[in-house]
Assembly symmetry: C2
Homo-oligomer: 400 residues x 2
């Protein structure tokens, strides 16, 4: 194996997560998809046709394939721990989707397993990999704008009204916006705020009895370095904060006000949870949806709503177009060129870790710390109390 050889990747779970990262994987010369595991035969057939790799109906068989160097685990949240432990037994590096796992002990077990195996563990894709946020974190770290003091983050989407499997509407099984969406927002805010959250106070909202899980939350976070942050999220499909990002969507797709209410409207026609799961499956990878149906053409940098990071010397606002710098005397845009391969950052970090031994920002410890904030958010909302945190870690300086 040569350092410049493409990283040979196996993927676990050919669902929605895979669909989102697939075009990036296909376009990136540094990785090559060689195997996939999924219970759906028709998805595996499509995979073999699209990528020429090998399909497996069970995950362990995939791990037994010596060709596979690293595994991208994009299976349902509840499977993450056992699949990471299995990958560790076979000496595979792992990129595991957010949320990392549904308990701190599961997260810890995953870290330990990979450490003992001498393998890399990365947690992602999350939106904290998006270039605008990574670039803002670099600008903060440069010291040019003074210390970061306050972060205001909010995002309004139709998350709760996208087609769901029943467990995605059950918090105990990892459903709801705290596990799926705070995992993004907290990750971004930690990246910009220095990483080490000391205290969380939060409230969550469950406002639609037909979707009985958290659909909204607000939180106040305090950091070890004195920074503080407010986080607000609503997935109830009313206001859409893409409006504040020039109608560029979360995934970089062009959007517009004419799409108003589409998610709720599509769900109106659905009469049972089985029908809804079927609707969701139609968006999953398979015979009717594959590589040829995707395109990276015209895709902008991803984003996760509104983020404003106030430093002593400037307010920094990352957007798909770049970083708006509101300084003492002038407002200017630090532009980001259009991405050559949208969402490539997660693969770049994985390749650097495995091939060049560069410690990743989004390590297992980092992912655990983000989940600790998410768990605290739920606990604070349940108890009404502020929750102290004990498992946080700072942002790793790139190149350090």
């Amino acid at each position: 194996m040569n350092r410049s050889d493409p990283l040979r990747l196996g993927v676990a779970g050919l669902g929605r997560g895979f669909m989102l990262l697939m075009p990036t994987i296909a376009a990136h010369s540094g990785v090559k998809l060689v195997a996939a595991a999924d219970p759906r035969t028709e998805a595996l057939e499509r995979f073999e046709a699209d990528f020429g790799g090998t399909g497996y109906s069970d995950f362990e068989s995939l791990c037994q394939n010596p060709e596979v160097e690293a595994v991208y685990i994009a299976s349902p949240h509840g499977l993450h721990r056992e699949q990471v432990e299995c990958a560790a037994r076979y000496g595979k590096h792992v990129l595991v989707e957010k949320p990392m796992a549904l308990s701190l002990s599961d997260c810890r077990a995953m870290i330990d397993a990979m450490q003992q195996a001498g393998c890399r563990l990365l947690v992602g894709h999350s939106h904290s990999f998006d270039s605008p946020y990574l670039q803002t974190a670099r600008m903060i770290r440069s010291g040019e704008y003074g210390r970061v003091k306050m972060i205001n983050a909010f995002n309004y989407t139709d998350f709760l009204y996208r087609p769901r499997r029943p467990e995605e509407l059950d918090t105990a099984q990892g459903g709801g916006v705290v596990y799926s969406q705070a995992a993004h927002q907290v990750d971004i805010v930690r990246l910009l705020g220095g990483g080490e959250v000391t205290r969380v106070m939060a409230q969550t909202g469950q406002w639609d009895p037909k979707r009985p899980t958290e659909g909204a939350y607000s939180a106040l976070l305090t950091f070890a370095n004195g920074c503080f942050a407010t986080l607000t999220y609503s997935g109830y499909g009313h206001f859409d904060s893409d409006e504040l990002n020039g109608w560029s969507g979360e995934l970089g797709q062009p959007r517009g006000p004419s799409e108003y209410g589409k998610a709720r409207a599509a769900l109106q026609a659905v009469t049972s949870s089985e029908e809804e799961a079927a609707l969701k499956n139609r968006r999953a990878y398979g015979p009717d949806l594959g590589l040829s149906d995707t395109s990276l053409e015209g895709i902008a940098h991803n984003h996760f709503g509104w983020i404003m990071a106030s430093c002593e010397g400037a307010d920094l606002k990352p957007t798909p177009a770049g970083i708006d710098v509101y300084g003492h005397t002038e407002h200017r845009l630090v532009p980001l060129g259009a991405p050559d391969i949208p969402r490539r950052e997660v693969l770049d970090e994985l390749i650097a870790a495995v091939r060049n031994d560069v410690p990743p920002i989004h390590s297992g410890e980092w992912g655990l710390a983000t989940m600790e904030v998410c768990f605290a958010l739920l606990e604070s909302a349940r108890t009404g109390q502020a929750i102290d945190l004990y498992h946080q870690c700072p942002v790793r300086a790139e190149g350090a």
Copy 2:
């Protein structure tokens, strides 16, 4: 006295607060300015020239004038209590500027004094009088959009870099953005959230050693009705949230990106606190600045940054143009016509209370409850603890 006679008003303090409300008072046929008290002789002379009323160098003399029916107290915060008590002794109704006072016991004493005198006490002007917020509160109260569940409020201004007297930069004397600006934002959020805050968790920021008071804060509020809210404020003169209100300013004035950094720049030339106070005085009412220098022409509805109130059935976003309603199936604007007399709402509420015995929304009890939130905000920031509240009151239904 006839119910339709103009309310005869005396004003205490011909400073910045008076400057802001003066054109509204002058334009409103329901009130007539008949007296003023201020230590500055030149301001009193201008007042007599502008309004034909009587000037007094001390407040009690103004109260002794039998012509005066109600007093608008726009003096420095620290004088509010003694002036209200004095007005009560002479049986005058009172409109007292925010912040009502700097301790709960002062607020309580003011309420008691006015109650014993059988007079009306109103607290304002604050931006919760602005038509867009009053109209949003009516829409929430109508029940048409379900219950209000979450409010997200933020405002970014150059507050801290406007010319200040030394005490305005000293929290102990009522300086800083919590007393002067949270008093607005909390009042608005309470108006929309039902009024009764049960718990406050907050952080404050003091990021400029040359302006040693709170210049920023973030808070998470919980309401008795289950609603919760995040409030964020920065007065550090970087990002300006007027950008999100179509460049209509807090006071309804047209603004633009070309004004960037002006407040800081103006302050650069200042070398002492005396010079700064002098700069501030040039913006106060007096020989060089009077009624003829003001105009209500082209003034839009006032606003206080970004406010989003999420109800079960819609997100409601009040702006100077109207209320954006983001419902289940459509986004529409409930337009508000341009104001006939900007900021008239505070006078309308005062007149209705005094002339027609209509209990005001912005009563003494209401003002005390807003200050309790502000005090809790400071205490929570100091101690790191969540603070429970005990003196809250619901929003009075209009016409009730």
